[in-house]
Symmetry: C2
Subunit: 913 residues, 2 copies
């Protein structure tokens, strides 16, 4: 605590300059001394905004009071009296004077906002005499007694600690007697006798009478606010919000103003710009002859601000001018409370306004164009999550509320991929695809999804599962393709036999409509109306262009299909950082060939299958090259374990059990024979599945290991890539393939693959007589690869961090199992700050990445480095990648605009030397 | 090539000093110039060993010849003639003189031994005239013509390039005609006419006649040896062995001596010490009146060297003296070839002798005691593998050979745990245990083993599986307990139903005897006699004591049972580095309680089970503490995933299928009811197993994660440890528990466990009123833990590298799957130099360990660090751990002596600053 300040405990609102001087000009210090609200009121006063006069008792006074265990510091009360006198002079009213009574509010106001955590007393200064005077002045008994009974209750409960129940009981009895639902429908007489009963309650429960002396009212109110700093609620809040306990609260004493003093009075709330669209036009609601609560309560129909221009043109003009001044001052869109008391405009509060994503973007851009803020400010004002919003439809707020009110809310799951989706329920991928092809909107619903469900997931509008976590297959694929998804909705019981889903005795049949909200996890029966913001939004485009000028790290995309690539490019992707060639294998027309290749027992069969796959792959790659004309396309050779392409062990054993049971009761010889041959067939498949089964498939035969064990596969893929490259080059496409080896652990794996690859590439280019320049590189997704990146870089021209697997291995956590088993508990209990699959673990995985970049560039100084894991679209992870000196991040197409902004923000926050 | 040496191409054996001077004293240079054999012959000559006189043509001459494309360098032939003249003078014989003919051999001799890769010609100097003279001198026409026909054939094939077939065809005809099997049974006359026929063959196929002129014979032989340097065989050999191609070969011309010139002649091979036992006594075999080949061929019964002392006492004495001199000179046990020609002893060759492990140890120790070598030399002369041999019984060589000759060899598998074992076949763990308890020797035979087979594995003499690799469960457990084991013997087909194993149509039934050799993987039907070397061997003890004085890294042991601990301590273990508490859970008396704990659905049931486990665990720990009185005991809290304690998913589903099929044909209501209740029971277990199933269990819910998710378990284990510690402390035992947390990834996990642990430890010590000092630490087995060891060390007083898991995660290889899938191929194709599960991967895993030690000690400078993975017993890994500054390695008990030596060798090889 500052000793010198011992003398000055109270600052009038118009003494804010003095306070700032005392704090050596530091505005944050002023906020510490006067609290956020007090500083703000002073600030507004300073720039000439009409604020009801008042003064602030400092946080230091509060701390001194608390330390002295309930004694005001020397001189404080004297200073309060002086400042109060000044207010009386300004307002030409007098505290406790029935002829011209000054009423004040007494509110807490700490440095950091702690909404609802501390206390407020309004209407201080009323007593029986003042009430009479006020009635004379306002000719509004109802208003005066209403105010009086409020003061007694508020004072009783906040200052004297009387519980609310007895007050509420009295009100209830009056309402019953009058047969009304709302207190405001009680009469002036009612309020007068209620006030008397309230005084009796205070006397009885507090053991003292309600003080008639306004000065005593004020003194006790100040003490109550000071004490509320150490109230249980406030301490809990500070613990939760991480606010220090020794800051103390300031107390603001301010003249009460009333918007309900006749038709020349009004009260309202207004935004300096449209909070929904961002349009630069004053927006808000007001009521004439009303109190602030009335505007919020919605009992009376409010009027739009434009009407004020007609009703009180001067005041509207004054208000517009003030709103402009506040925007200029705070360089932000303002959310203002105002009251007009008998033709005089007062601003009670201003703060930065909340707004929709669209408004945030437009306001940031407009303000920049208006010269109000700099481009970098604009970029910092929009959150990456707001950009994300532009990419997904959302439910119209009213429509959703209505649906919930109608009891159509079915369940809540994890909100893993944002956006709203509506469609008919389909319980399997094939049906989802078929219905989608028929033009239906479909929600695919499964207990959980698997790689061979992907065609259905691609075709549908949204995905709903009853199992799985944020990193489940369904969640990953949904985010990848920007499909709204809700997973792990455990209330749902899905019966795939009966083709229904149930929650309790509610039943939704296949083909019936549901709505899912991937933004917050809601599942709703029937249709909820959606709205889609516009990615072509001119302000968004402008903002993202600015982001591109500022950012110093590339933004690429992960895309497996030409359509994906085109979308990503339209979103601003500067290249493809990852094409998962195996995703193409899951296509229904190819899977049988892939399975034939895998289950082949003689090499010739395998070669046949590979030869059949070649034209498919070539066409896939050609499509990608065409879509990315002029930009790099990174193609990863096959990665997943082969068993992923086959039916699951469990499925096969269940089928077999079934067949064996059925054969027991088979009726005819033919039936027995059919079943036997089916059993034989399934047993053959089971044998192959069993031979490929692995205890820990994540660490098994996949990635480059497959390429080495099955050299024909690598060869086919390389041939397809180069045949496609030659083909499109011939069409005039500017093609830049980058060939990426997955799961490298040892430099020798890379050396081997490179030799094979170069041979095949040369052969194809010779056949086609076309030279295509290409790069050779590897994923870094195994810790060893990161640790030996100096060796790796001997052969790799680029590296790309596969942070999903790198996180799994570095952290020793299996993505498929962890959430269910312990990760959620770890996050809940604070053992981990963040889910390492959402945000790169900087200390562990980030450290490995740092080692890899440094070692890799020690061998090859221009080693190109990027990231293509899920983290590539996460703002914190993007900032980390930039600090590590990566050249680009690659993320799913819908994350591209998000990443562009996040990258710009990182560059602004931490300029590199 | 050295220009100055241009003048001197030939060195007589007694000019070795001159050669060494020319090489500035560098003996390696002399070997380069004269070849290994030539340098050695010169060296022996120099120290006065009677070597048949001769000279060496330098490698430089060879290179000059090859470079000049077949022209001898200037002066070389003249120098050869001069040296030859000197030999004639010394031997008082003359080249080509029928009255006293000098015969010489002409052999290649490169710097590095390339056995059999280059050419040799013997008996040079014979022609028809010389032959006549020799017959007169030796009176042995048979010997002379035998030698002559050998010269013609050898010369014809080696020098003139005639293929062997025509020569062999002639010999065959003569043998047929005489009806004999061996050439030596042909008569002198036969050899004479054979010689004539051979000359005709030479004439016909080489297009020139066999040269009569001895000088021409010699010149052509020298050329042939020179040319043989670039023969295909030699080039291939050098490529394979990594020998440079520009070294060239030297040529040694040496006087022929003959042990078959009468009863005063002999030939033999002898070791300067006993190669089996190491006794310091001349050992060997010889034959009088015989040629060198006869000793090796085994046609005549050889005599032991002791008999030479009786037959030719002076020569025996001379030979003993020479053997001593050679040992002194080479400071190694020598393996010598000698010939006695008419009472004159000649040493033809000496080299370091091969020996058994026992002999190696004794000789190294004896030579040190004799002052011949230093202690460090002794330590370097014994390989860690030889120490290993002392710990395991082995099959007597003869007995095994006999068994193989009898066709009893059944199969060969992987030699994963050394030693020989004989016993009756038991096909399951329970039977193995029961029979072992009845005093039978048992070999447990399974397709593969699982954790709940451990009781059988402990009880049996040896383990045989038909599946699995070097790092399979069977292999790991076998090595841990020093049980001989052969795994992955894929020829075996094991029928657990019929209780037989089959190879083709061979059948071994349960209860029949087999023998397995874990040292080389052999599986043999019936009994093979074994022999057990003695670990109490006085020389071994002495050597290991010396090792302890030299080594600068501790050797601890991994032990789970008091018996293990005692054995390890007797082997020299200085502490327990790892106790796997879960191994105790697999005991048959405890497994049901453990399963109850896991399948408990209400907390009270779980607590009950934990309470029942407590006394067991306490007794386990007390036993360990007693066995290790005064030494540290590191106890790791429970590590494996819980499903390991339950029946497998596959087992349960198979059982259930079976039950469901049986119920179809059930006869009575009772039977149906029994089956139904069994199905219900199994389905309950299956549900729990399914809920615990993980896609990648290695990265799942285990280690510290279990401790956090099931806090009662940690608490029980900690209580058991401290109750045990207090108990034995009360008995006067000096107890040093170290409590180790497994699978830590994040410092917060450690912090959490530490708090819980300290609370419980304090509670127990307060209850018992005993203070036990203990340490708290963690395994480092997840890459992230290594990367954040600075944070980890805030809470850990010690760290221990779990290099098995660390290798799995750093390398991204699942130990359970890798060998089958690709690791073997990687090793075969040289993608990896070594199996990373056998020897720590220095570049990857080692780098992480380095980071961990450095970071850990940056926080806590005295952080105690060790290793407790399988690698702790591997010499290369021990050397790495020492370089990284670890305090100790911990290995399975049988590896302790091996580790002691390996650690000493590392300290000798790389002295630290």
């Amino acid at each position: 605590m500052n000793e010198i300040s011992g003398n000055k405990w109270v600052y009038a609102f118009d003494e804010v300059d003095e306070a700032q001087e005392f704090m050596n000009g530091d505005w944050d210090g002023v906020r510490g001394l006067l609290g956020g609200k007090g500083a703000n009121l002073g600030d507004m006063t300073r720039i000439g905004v009409p604020v009801p006069p008042g003064f602030t008792i400092t946080t230091e006074a509060c701390n001194a009071y608390l330390q002295a265990e309930g004694t005001f510091p020397d001189g404080m009360i004297t200073q309060v009296s002086e400042k109060l006198r000044k207010v009386e002079e300004t307002t030409e009213k007098s505290f406790g004077d029935p002829d011209s009574p000054l009423l004040v509010s007494c509110r807490s106001g700490a440095k950091f906002s702690m909404p609802g955590m501390m206390d407020t007393v309004l209407n201080i200064g009323m007593n029986d005499g003042v009430v009479k005077g006020l009635i004379g002045l306002t000719d509004d008994e109802h208003f005066v007694y209403d105010s009086y009974r409020r003061l007694v209750q508020m004072f009783g409960s906040v200052v004297l600690g009387v519980r609310d129940e007895p007050f509420e009981y009295v009100l209830e009895q009056y309402r019953d007697r009058r047969g009304v639902a709302s207190d405001s429908d009680l009469t002036a007489d009612d309020f007068r006798s209620i006030t008397e009963e309230f005084k009796a309650i205070v006397e009885r429960y507090a053991g003292r009478s309600f003080p008639d002396d306004p000065a005593e009212q004020l003194r006790l109110a100040i003490e109550a606010v000071f004490r509320s700093w150490n109230g249980k609620r406030a301490i809990d809040y500070r613990n939760a919000a991480g606010i220090p306990h020794d800051l103390g609260t300031a107390v603001n004493i301010q003249t009460m103003v009333f918007g309900n003093m006749g038709e020349d009075s009004a009260t309202g709330v207004a935004m300096s710009r449209n909070a929904t669209t961002g349009e630069p036009h004053l927006e808000g609601d007001y009521l004439t002859n009303a109190q602030g609560e009335d505007v919020v309560a919605g009992i009376r129909t409010t009027k739009p601000m434009d009407q004020l221009a007609e009703e009180m043109p001067d005041l509207h003009r004054e208000f517009s001018e003030i709103a402009g001044r506040l925007e200029q001052h705070y360089r932000e869109m303002q959310d203002m409370e105002f009251t007009i008391e008998r033709g005089k405009l007062w601003i009670l509060q201003t703060r930065n306004g909340k707004r929709t994503a669209q408004a945030a973007v437009r306001i940031a851009v407009d303000m920049t164009d208006e010269g109000l803020i700099a481009r970098n400010d604009a970029l910092m004002r929009v959150t990456p999550a707001q950009i994300d919003f532009f990419l997904h439809p959302s439910f119209a707020f009213e429509a959703k509320k209505e649906a919930k009110d109608e009891g159509r809310h079915l369940a809540t799951g994890l909100n893993v991929s944002p956006g709203a989706a509506v469609g008919v329920v389909a319980f399997d991928a094939d049906l989802a695809e078929r219905w989608a092809n028929e033009g239906k909107d479909v929600i695919m619903v499964r207990p959980e999804t698997k790689p061979d469900d992907v065609h259905g997931m691609l075709a549908c509008n949204g995905i709903l599962t009853s199992r799985g976590g944020r990193t489940s297959h369904a969640a990953l694929v949904a985010r990848q393709f920007g499909k709204p998804a809700v997973v792990g909705a455990e209330e749902l019981s899905i019966d795939l036999g009966e083709r229904v889903l149930r929650v309790g005795d509610r039943v939704v049949r296949e083909g019936e409509e549901i709505s899912i909200d991937g933004t917050n996890g809601d599942v709703i029966v029937g249709v909820v109306a959606t709205q889609t913001p516009d990615l072509e939004n001119e302000w968004l485009k402008k903002l993202l262009e600015w982001a591109d000028e500022v950012r110093d790290i590339g933004v690429w995309t992960n895309a497996d299909y030409p359509d994906d690539a085109r979308v990503a490019r339209s979103y601003g992707a500067e290249g493809i950082g990852l094409t998962r060639t195996e995703h193409m294998f899951f296509d229904q027309s190819r899977l049988p060939i892939v399975q034939k290749m895998i289950t082949a027992t003689i090499p010739a069969d395998r070669s046949d299958a590979l030869e059949q796959l070649l034209p498919f792959q070539r066409e896939d790659f050609a499509g990608l090259f065409r879509a990315m004309d002029g930009l790099p396309v990174t193609i990863r050779l096959i990665d997943p374990p082969l068993h992923e392409f086959l039916p699951s062990f469990e499925e096969l054993t269940t089928d077999l059990t079934d067949l064996k049971i059925r054969i027991q009761s088979a009726g005819s010889l033919k039936e027995i024979n059919d079943l036997l041959s089916k059993i034989e067939e399934e047993e053959h498949m089971l044998a192959r599945v069993e031979s490929l089964r692995e205890t820990n498939p994540m660490l098994g035969l996949r990635g480059v290991r497959l390429g080495i064990v099955l050299p024909g596969l690598t060869k086919m893929q390389v041939r397809a890539i180069f045949e496609a490259a030659c083909l499109v080059a011939d069409e005039g496409v500017d093609v830049h393939p980058k060939i990426m080896i997955p799961l490298t652990a040892h430099v020798n794996e890379l050396a081997r693959q490179r030799t094979e690859l170069e041979e095949e590439a040369k052969a194809v280019m010779a056949e086609k007589s076309i030279e295509v320049s290409y790069e050779f590189g590897t994923m870094i997704e195994i810790p060893r690869a990161a640790l030996t990146a100096d060796q790796i870089a001997e052969h790799a021209e680029f590296i790309s961090f596969g942070t999903n697997d790198l996180t799994q291995m570095t952290f020793g956590i299996s993505r498929d199992d962890a959430e269910k088993a312990f990760l959620v508990q770890y996050l809940e209990e604070g053992i981990l700050d963040a889910n390492p699959f959402a945000t790169i673990d900087a200390d562990g995985v980030g450290e490995l990445m740092k080692i890899a970049v440094e070692k890799g560039r020690s061998t090859r100084h221009d080693l190109n480095a990027g990231i293509c894991g899920e983290h590539g679209g996460d703002p914190d992870s993007i900032a980390l990648c930039r600090r590590l000196g990566l050249d680009y991040v690659s993320c799913s197409p819908p994350r591209v605009p998000v990443a562009r902004l996040a990258a710009a923000q990182a560059a602004i926050k931490e300029p590199l030397d």
